[in-house]
Symmetry: C2
Subunit: 245 residues, 2 copies
DNA sequence: TAGGGCAACTTGTACAAACAAGCGAGACCA
DNA sequence: TGGTCTCGCTTGTTTGTACAAGTTGCCCTA
């Protein structure tokens, strides 16, 4: 592990542990540099991580202050339902309801960077959290990865992890669109809610390290089961509001 | 403006303009350093901005690639409904429906960093986009800022901008919790939708540069009117999924 | 006592240098 | 033809230095 990652980890642990409560000042860069026997540049890189995570605030001339104390999730934990569930102490379950090859719609083609009509693999999954159905996942995979997906066990818990172990596929970048929709008939039946009841929808597109799109998905969470959380600041804002559809 | 900000701006413009289409490689750090007559460190700081915005992907050993080409919003544009509407070419409107001082609930006190029962100012606003009601905003202000809020024009378009101009208040950090809820009776009446129809809820807490909480708010958008968008990656992830309530 | 101003401290920006580590393409070999 | 290996390129990490710019508290003065 890089030196700055180690320092960032130590500081993050200290904040989570409460050594630096919310509102408290962090030691100065010079003090941290001397404590960890590192240069100021390395310390700056470490605290920059915490700033981008929204854990600490930073402004020129003033000591850094603690803004929050909750451990944030890695990209993998966000992307993989099973890995996330495990990390927050819940049991993930679920199964494939349906899976078929068909030709891509124009929207899917645009998001996957392929030609409309090109073949894709559409998979419908129901995901459970501690036994309760909470998520309907409609995922469309690009054709080059489809064979590996079809070989998976239908009851496979973590698709992400399995694809990594079997073909070495790594999900590296994601775009997420979050809004609210009414439950359709199929959604309602699978999640055990009334038709028209609110669902939290997350449409995501994921790509490999090389920027090649792998999948796009329409995930619908039962209201109350899941909340998304974002921390941002004047200097770092990845959350964007968009009009309409 | 700092040198690295200038370089980042040039590159961002080039990407948005299409000089570097999605999937294309960016010039190497050495090439950029020579083009802008800057050191490699400064160039790295510039591209780091683009990476954190999700516009560019980066991995050791390989040239950086373009992942997206949409201009992202500033923190101010995200925070202020009016500034956001203007930046995307729509007309923001709205008015204060009700405003009263009361004592803080325990949840509000925790989020504002005050004692339960301490006095706060609760404001209910209806916001319109191009004339259509799209957002019900229930904001609770800490008592120290309440007088300035009460002095505002009830039809004031941008509360954020007005508070900056009158008392110099700057919103610097925010935490956002996003989920879906059913419209209550009041929500439904104000937004012109049926009771129980889906709303996108954004609960946010905002603080000053010093980390002092200013307000917390429960914003409910009519389904279909607004979508939140986040770009993230293996190296930078500010989006977090949380269980239940 | 109220106010301004100075001085120490702290973070931000920029440059230079060196090495580590991963990627990709072409050369080479079986 | 197919696989491997090496070499050059590119990004990642670390240290050092210097100066700019903003904050904070103390001290001095009116």
């Amino acid at each position: 592990m890089a030196r700055y990652e180690h320092i960032a980890g130590e500081l993050r642990d200290a904040i989570v542990r409460g050594d630096y409560p919310i509102g408290a000042q962090l030691p100065s860069e010079a003090a941290l540099a001397s404590r960890f026997s590192a240069s100021r540049g390395t310390v700056r890189q470490a605290v920059a991580m915490l700033v981008s995570e929204g854990l600490v605030g930073s402004r020129q001339g003033a000591r850094r202050i603690v803004l929050g104390s909750e451990r944030s999730q890695s990209f993998a934990e966000l992307h993989s339902f099973a890995q996330w569930a495990r990390s927050v102490g819940h049991q993930a379950g679920g199964q494939v309801i349906g899976s078929r090859r068909r030709s891509a719609t124009s929207g899917e083609a645009a998001r996957l960077g392929i030609e409309p009509g090109e073949e894709v693999l559409a998979v419908l999954r129901l995901r459970r959290l501690d036994g309760e159905p909470v998520l309907v996942e409609r995922t469309v995979y690009a054709s080059w990865i489809a064979p590996a997906v079809e070989r998976l066990d239908p009851a496979c818990e973590s698709v992400t992890q399995e694809l990594y172990e079997t073909v070495g596929l790594v999900f590296a970048y994601g775009e997420h669109l979050i809004d609210a929709v009414s439950a359709g008939a199929e959604d309602a039946r699978m999640l055990g809610v009334r038709r028209g009841s609110p669902l939290l929808r997350q449409r995501r597109t994921t790509t490999t390290q090389e920027g090649r799109p792998v999948e796009c998905s329409d995930d619908r969470y039962r209201a109350g089961s899941v909340t998304f959380s974002i921390r941002n600041s004047h200097s770092a804002n990845s959350l964007v509001r968009r009009a309409g559809d």
